[in-house]
């Protein structure tokens, strides 16, 4: 059961091959047995899951179940779920029980999905390796000495290991796509504003977007149908109508125009990744697509621009963790200042502190114009690069990450780590949508192909990814770890 896709499970449940209850028990057992080696879950919510599964089975028997009823999923632990711990991978929120459900959680609950738990992540979603969590690093099921990528590394590892067929991640600067690439699964970062951010613990508000991580593009479409849409509680969510993301998956790609940004094939790109991506492009050509080279001239500035703006927003977003109303509070504070300093000093890890400091510095009097204002201007140029490119082509393709998954502990230098996101970050600055789909291996470690689309072109991107998955089998490969019989 555990190597099936959401789409297959939905069919099996309808056909009565097994119940959601049986599937849930099976997956809970797998998590219990296998996850100690992966550390992909922070919380497993077995009782809630069993209850939801039972309800879904009853609904199915009564003929009132929707398409998603009884489908097991997991949520990245920066998504608020009422009554359960939502830690953000931080000591700061180790004791935080959310008093409310995020809007997307309400949608998923209404659709009848079964939430098995909350997945591990880099602290406050800040990182590219899932090593900075208060709950310890996540391991890559393809190679337990490798990182799963980050920050949605727990979601990616759990899906790749067959602990859960799909999960939600969040992508602020590549945090869905890079772990999807490192773990050989499919991940979609929606257009900024497409999915409600209400109840997603903010890292950088003008970038954060939740999206699906699953084995296939078809499964991502299924989840997008449940989570996309306007939310009156999120002013940045858009009112634009939501299409049926599953409807156009089978559309042939004949005539599709693909652009290859030359900046995405430069220095630092591993030979294996480049050859896998070029091979994937040839598959598209064989499906009737045409390919041209394009340029996104400001790509080079994306990483520094992102770290200025995202850190600035983060520095303010994380001010609410002051030990006063919720979260970690230091023991016996001497006075108010001591309460602030020690609560925050003890509650946050070093990467979070680094970004708060960067952000605080770049917003300071005398530095604001040189850093923040300038970065905002560059951000607009980067956005314009994409707008210009999409006048010529339908989708852009390139590597998701310059290398496959690196070893645990390999990037102790933060700047080297930041540069891992050179191909994923421009998309977040522009607010466009992008995906990562499995496209090969370097030894045991998977390689991701990145697809980038214009604003609100998720349906087209999912179609382009799905057609690739009809012609290739990279997404069907399973790590040996997942095949351990239990």
């Amino acid at each position: 059961m555990h190597d099936k896709t959401l789409t297959e499970i939905a069919a099996d449940l309808t056909a009565g091959k097994y119940s959601s209850h049986e599937l849930t028990e099976h997956l809970l057992k797998r998590i219990e047995r296998l996850d100690p080696s992966l550390n992909s879950f922070i919380s497993v919510t077995g009782d809630n899951a069993r209850h939801s599964a039972q309800q879904a089975d009853t609904a199915r028997a009564a003929g009132t179940a929707g398409q998603l009823a009884g489908l097991p999923i997991a949520l990245k632990d920066n998504i608020c779920t009422q009554g359960t711990k939502t830690s953000c991978g931080s000591r700061m929120l180790d004791n935080f029980i959310s008093p409310y459900d995020a809007t997307i959680v309400q949608h998923l609950n209404a659709a009848g999905t079964v939430n098995l738990g909350k997945t591990n992540l880099d602290e406050f979603a800040m990182g590219s390796s899932s090593e900075s969590s208060f709950y310890g690093p996540v391991k890559n099921p393809w190679d337990l000495t490798a990182v799963p990528g980050g920050s949605s590394g727990g979601s990616a590892a759990a899906v790749a290991a067959g602990l859960i067929p799909a999960a939600l991640g969040s992508d602020t600067g590549g945090s869905i796509r890079q772990p999807a690439a490192f773990c050989g699964i499919t991940g979609l970062k929606p257009t900024y504003g497409r999915v409600s951010r209400y109840g997603i613990i903010a890292y950088a508000s003008s970038f954060d977007q939740v999206g699906p991580m699953a084995r296939t593009a078809a499964d991502c479409a299924l989840l997008m149908n449940a989570i996309a849409g306007h939310d009156s509680r999120d002013s940045t969510s858009v009112t634009r109508q939501v299409p049926d993301y599953s409807a156009e998956l089978d559309k042939p790609l004949r005539g599709l125009k693909i652009g290859l940004p030359k900046e995405y094939f430069g220095e630092g790109l591993s030979a294996e990744v480049e050859s896998a991506v070029r091979e994937a492009v040839r598959v598209y050509e064989s499906l009737g697509a045409s390919v041209i080279d394009v340029s996104l001239p400001h790509t080079h500035y994306a990483v520094p621009t992102y770290y200025v703006i995202a850190s600035a927003e983060a520095s303010a977003n994380l001010s609410r963790y002051d030990g006063v109303r919720f979260g970690h509070r230091c023991q016996s504070p001497a006075d108010l200042e001591d309460l602030y300093k020690r609560s925050r000093g003890e509650g946050f890890g070093s990467e979070v502190k680094r970004r708060i400091l960067i952000g605080t510095h770049t917003l300071s009097e005398g530095f604001f114009d040189a850093y923040f204002t300038k970065a905002q201007r560059v951000r607009r140029l980067i956005q314009q690069d994409f707008i210009d490119a999409f006048k010529e082509v339908d989708v852009l393709m390139g590597p998701t990450s310059p290398t496959p998954a690196f070893d645990l502990g390999a990037h102790m230098d933060p700047v080297a780590m930041y540069l891992q996101d050179v191909y994923t970050i421009p998309c977040n600055l522009a607010g466009i949508t992008a995906m990562s789909v499995p496209a090969g291996f370097d030894g045991e470690r998977p390689i991701g192909l990145q697809l980038l689309g214009a604003h609100f072109s998720e349906a087209q991107l999912l179609n382009v990814a799905h057609q690739f998955q009809q012609a290739t089998d990279w997404h069907l490969r399973r790590p040996a770890f997942a095949e351990e019989t239990i």
């Binding site: 998504i79 608020c80 939502t86 953000c88 929120l93 935080f96 959310s98 008093p99 409310y100 995020a102 951010r197 209400y198 109840g199 997603i200 613990i201 903010a202 950088a204 508000s205 003008s206 009156s232 509680r233 999120d234 002013s235 940045t236 600035a312 927003e313 520095s315 303010a316 994380l318 001010s319 609410r320 002051d322 006063v324 109303r325 919720f326 108010l336 602030y340 605080t360 917003l363 300071s364 009097e365 604001f368 923040f372």
Partner: protein, 488 residues
């Protein structure tokens, strides 16, 4: 050395919206601590602000009310600082692109003259909560009911030169916001607070002196006194060879002095930047025009109309238009009795005297505008004389009669206050008074003719007394004079 004072005001007005500026919580004053604080107000992780349209509408109405530029686009910024009653660790405000641009407020001074004070801009922001320092066993309690209440901060140019002007400006702002109904203007409950920027310079000098900012002054009287103290302090300091430092000061009404809170060097760097959770406010010109068309008559216009159309004096027009409740009351009384001068005299005289004695506001007047209007109808049509009118008013004040505008008639009937104009009846009373007062009559007769005018007062008083105040005083006067002179 002659000194000149320069004053600028930042007035914080709490907008009278139903719910908070970025959440659905109620803004009612005085509820149990934290009973009006939602997940958004508590800044729970993952929560987001949603702008209250009513707050935008009220801010725009204010802008239109002071003939300000209304920019098409305004933007919310985050003002970062840590404080326990500031749940997010930043205040959402408008630093760079405020909702209201430059405008003007007309102030009226005691001598009846008016002056224009320029407003630099007005911006929307959220209020913080309150720290409660008592009753928590040495700890501080936090009440977040007020957190997120919408504020309009109105920033003047440094156009005022003395405390009287500053108070007049504050009164004018108070009048405008209460006329518009966008704030209850209740200073005691903190609905209007103000920061006062004060500096002094030698008369004739063009550049400003170094200013001190006096924070959170919450009454008209305290504004006047805080300025007076601060001006004196600064002049003394400079004359003694010292220098004014740029700093934030606090006015202590008990000690009647200002004290330093923090100097410029200690000031926070608020690290303002645009709030990514809120979209810029983009105002449709049609929307702004609709608000402009719906604006009520504002104090300055009303004052001008009271003078020109109703013929009131500049002083009367100023007093009666100073706040909306008084103006509405006056206009209602006038509409009923049809006589602006009578209405003005009574509202400012008898009514306002009685209200002051009891410490009541005109909204809580025991005598309604309908009642007073009805009373004045009977004064004007000579049913009762002025003296009786005062009795009727007092009876109304004490709750006699019903609240309708014919309650005056009921009281007049019940007390028999109807004016006696029957010459025969008045003559009878006069004859009785004359025959009862032989000594006074003798004195009158013996007096020089030019002294007799004064002496007649006694006989008028006796006759009025005999009529229980109902005789027409003019008739009594005329008839008495005839009868007494006939005796001489």
């Amino acid at each position: 050395m002659q000194w000149e004072t320069v004053i600028g005001l930042e007035v914080h007005v709490q907008l009278a919206t139903q719910s908070k500026i970025f959440s659905g919580s109620s803004t009612d004053f005085g509820a149990e601590p934290n009973s009006q604080a939602s997940a958004v107000d508590l800044a729970m992780p993952g929560t987001l602000p949603v702008l209250n349209e009513q707050a935008v509408s009220m801010a725009v109405q204010f802008g239109l009310g002071i003939n300000a530029e209304i920019p098409e686009v305004s933007v919310f910024d985050r003002k970062n600082y840590f404080y326990p009653d500031l749940p997010k660790g930043y205040q959402t405000s408008q630093m760079y692109y405020p909702i209201v641009g430059p405008g003007e407020v007309e102030i009226s001074l005691d001598d009846g003259s008016t002056q224009r004070i320029r407003v630099h801009h007005a911006h929307l922001e959220e209020d913080a909560g309150k720290s409660l320092h008592e009753d928590y066993h040495g700890m501080t309690g936090i009440d977040l009911n007020r957190a997120g209440t919408p504020l309009l901060e109105i920033v003047s140019e440094p156009d005022m030169r003395n405390a009287k002007q500053a108070v007049a400006y504050l009164r004018a702002i108070h009048a405008i916001v209460t006329y518009l109904g966008i704030s209850d203007g209740n200073m005691a409950e903190g609905s209007m607070r103000c920061d006062v920027n004060v500096s002094v310079r030698p008369k004739g000098q063009a550049e400003f002196g170094t200013r001190a900012e006096i924070k959170n002054v919450n009454s008209f009287r305290f504004v006047e006194r805080a300025i007076a103290y601060e001006v004196e302090r600064q002049i003394e300091l400079i004359e003694d060879g010292g220098k004014v430092v740029q700093e934030t000061r606090l006015y202590d009404p008990d000690a009647d002095e200002t004290r330093s809170m923090r100097t410029k060097e200690e000031a926070n760097d608020y690290r303002y930047f645009p709030c990514p959770d809120l979209l810029p406010i983009v105002l449709d010109p049609t929307y702004v025009e609709q608000l402009r068309d719906a604006l009520p008559e504002l104090p300055a216009e009303k004052r001008a109309r009271f003078e020109s159309a109703l013929g009131l004096s500049a002083y009367d027009a100023g007093v009666l238009s100073a706040n909306r409740a008084t103006a509405d009351f006056f206009e209602e009384v006038m509409a009923i009795c049809g006589d602006a001068k009578q209405a003005a005299n009574w509202v400012q005289g008898e009514l306002s005297g009685a209200l002051n004695r009891e410490g009541l506001s005109i909204e809580n007047s025991p005598v309604s505008a309908q009642q007073l209007g009805g009373l004045l109808v009977r004064v004007i049509d000579d049913t009762i004389n002025g003296k009786a009118a005062k009795q009727v008013f007092q009876a109304m004040w004490n709750g006699e009669g019903d609240s309708a505008n014919n309650s005056a008639d009921a009281i007049i009937d019940a007390r028999g206050l109807k004016q006696v104009t029957d010459t025969g009846a008045i003559e009878a009373m006069i004859d009785q008074v004359i025959s009862d007062s032989p000594a006074q009559v003798a004195q009158y007769r013996d007096a020089e003719p030019d002294k007799r005018g004064k002496m007649i007062g006694y006989f008028v008083g006796q006759t009025m007394k005999a009529s229980r105040g109902t005789a027409n005083p003019q008739q009594v006067n005329t008839l008495l004079k005839q009868k007494l002179d006939a005796l001489c």
